[in-house]
């Protein structure tokens, strides 16, 4: 039963279609694990065992009737609790929204339902997505399945933990300053923050609207490609939704990367933990042995990313939550209240300068893609931290450490895919990010898939903790 819970969607779909495995067997395996493991990992805020079993039974019946099946027919999917789900409480990780029952589904949730998902529940998140630790004083902090004494990263920490522990096959996330890539890196799973506006944010609680990127998380690049294709697409309900044709990203898989030009900005090689640096250099060597051309590129404009990211994040989130900060400040957890109130103390000069810096960063990145095909960097510069006593300081400091590495892609709105590259000496995963120009997710999937195959065949790769 354990094995079923760790199969990817790309593996399960043909097994369902050929009637070798039933969605009911899979959902029962997943919920048996949730019951046993999630009191420790806290990856879910709300589980839906009865609804999920009912959906799986309906999926099984449809298979037996040989009906046309959706691309995610019967696949267990966990939804980050920032995504509104009709009739199912959506807390956004906040105590103030403990009893909030949305009247609508987020556009993405609607799309995933149409594709046939079985929704397992609502995944834990840093409160209002306002941090990268997933320390949550209200619903319990999600804990890393590789070692529960360590953080999962956030804000999509529940998504990262659920995937690493076999408590969901796929998960949704959202990334404003690393909230997909940080937990993907810390939990040893895959995630993509796509081009800004490629996935509609309609029905997802905003953090900082001009930086918010919803996206998929999974245990393989092929699952990311499958899921992004289903979540993406124009949505008239969102003013930032891009009116572009969504390609079949799975066509980018199983391709060679010989001749692919990979640029490594020198900016991302500064201040790295030595273990992160060693694993990242090893990943670059592996790309070279696969025929890619790896070169260092200089993008000094990226040094403005921390300022741009921090200012836009705090000003926009502070503004969004302003009324509640005035009327019910005690309703917020300490760390997010501190972050949001900081933004209220910045002025128009900061915000406009930050937007101008974003333009410079975006232009510099765009120009770099005339010289190279993709950019590579560590996802974050540090190894996974242990839980510390002063959680407020830990959350704030973790934002400081991650922001320089995550903010460039958010500021420019370019896609960035996070993939595991090995383990540090504390036994926790380390990840890298691959970035590309707007709407070039196809190339990221090509490179990410080639990397995953090489990595999984290498001695650096380990099975997930409860898979062993």
């Amino acid at each position: 039963m354990t094995e079923l819970a760790f199969l990817t969607a790309s593996e399960l779909v043909p097994l369902f279609k050929s009637k070798k495995v039933s969605p009911v067997e899979v959902i029962k395996a997943v919920f048996r694990r949730i019951e046993k493991l999630d009191p420790t990992y806290r990856s879910y805020i709300t589980t839906l065992p009865e609804d999920a079993l009912k959906q799986a039974q309906q999926a099984e019946a449809a298979i037996m009737r040989n009906e046309d099946l959706g691309p995610l027919h019967g696949i267990p999917v966990g939804i980050k609790d920032l995504y509104h789900t009709k009739g199912i409480r959506t807390t956004s990780g906040s105590a103030m929204l403990r009893n909030f029952i949305p009247k609508i589904n987020a556009t993405t949730v609607e799309k995933l339902h149409k594709a046939g998902m079985v929704m397992t529940g609502k995944l834990n998140t840093h409160e209002m997505a306002g941090g990268v630790s997933s320390i949550n004083p209200f619903y319990g902090s999600s804990r890393n399945p590789w070692n529960p004494n360590y953080l999962t990263g956030g804000s999509s920490g529940g998504s990262g933990a659920a995937l690493a522990a076999g408590l969901a096959t796929l998960a949704t996330g959202s990334d404003t300053f690393g909230s997909i890539r940080v937990p993907a890196s810390m939990c040893g799973v895959y995630g993509i923050k796509p081009t800004y506006g490629l996935i509609s944010p309609h029905g997802i609680t905003p953090l900082a609207a001009s930086l918010d990127h919803p996206g998929p998380m999974a245990r393989s690049v092929s699952d990311l490609a499958l899921m992004l294709g289903l979540m993406a697409g124009y949505d008239e309900k969102s003013p930032v939704s891009l009116k572009v044709k969504v390609p079949d990203y799975t066509k980018s898989l199983n391709k060679e990367i010989k001749g692919l030009r990979i640029g490594v900005p020198g900016y991302f090689l500064q201040g790295l933990d030595p273990e992160v640096k060693e694993l990242f250099m090893n990943a670059l060597n592996t790309f070279s042995t696969m025929g890619a051309i790896v070169t260092e590129v200089q993008l000094p404009e990226l040094s403005m990313s921390t300022f741009a990211g921090y200012v836009v994040l705090t000003v926009e989130s502070g503004n969004y939550h302003y009324d509640m900060l005035r009327t019910n400040p005690a309703g917020f957890g300490n760390d997010v209240r501190i972050l949001f109130e900081s933004g209220l103390l910045l002025d128009h000069t900061h915000y406009i300068r930050a937007q101008q810096a974003r333009r410079k960063i975006a232009d510099a990145l765009k120009k770099s893609f005339e010289e190279v095909d993709i950019l590579a960097a560590p996802a974050i510069p540090i190894t996974v931290p242990r839980f510390q006593e002063n959680w407020i300081l830990q959350s704030t400091e973790l934002t400081n450490r991650c922001m320089p590495f995550t903010a460039p892609a958010n500021s420019a709105g370019i896609p960035s895919l996070s993939a595991p590259i090995g383990f540090s000496s504390n036994g926790l995963p380390v990840g890298m990010q691959l970035m590309d120009n707007h709407l070039r997710e196809d190339l990221l999937f090509q490179a990410g898939d080639a990397w995953e195959k090489a990595y999984k065949a290498s001695p650096l790769h380990k099975p997930y903790p409860d898979e062993q």
Partner: protein
Amino acid sequence: MSVKYALYCKGITPFDADLPYIEYVLKTIQHAQRALAPEYELYKEVPFVVVDKGVLKDD
């Protein structure tokens, strides 16, 4: 102006325990601001772009 008074001016009654952390965040931003070198001529940039021209090109 103190952080506490500045927040009062915004209609917010801050928690005293938060103040050192807010100062810490503001100092981080102040430090990061040093990267805005004059040679980038940021003042020449249009501060808000509704639809990115690079994305439009691919439509």
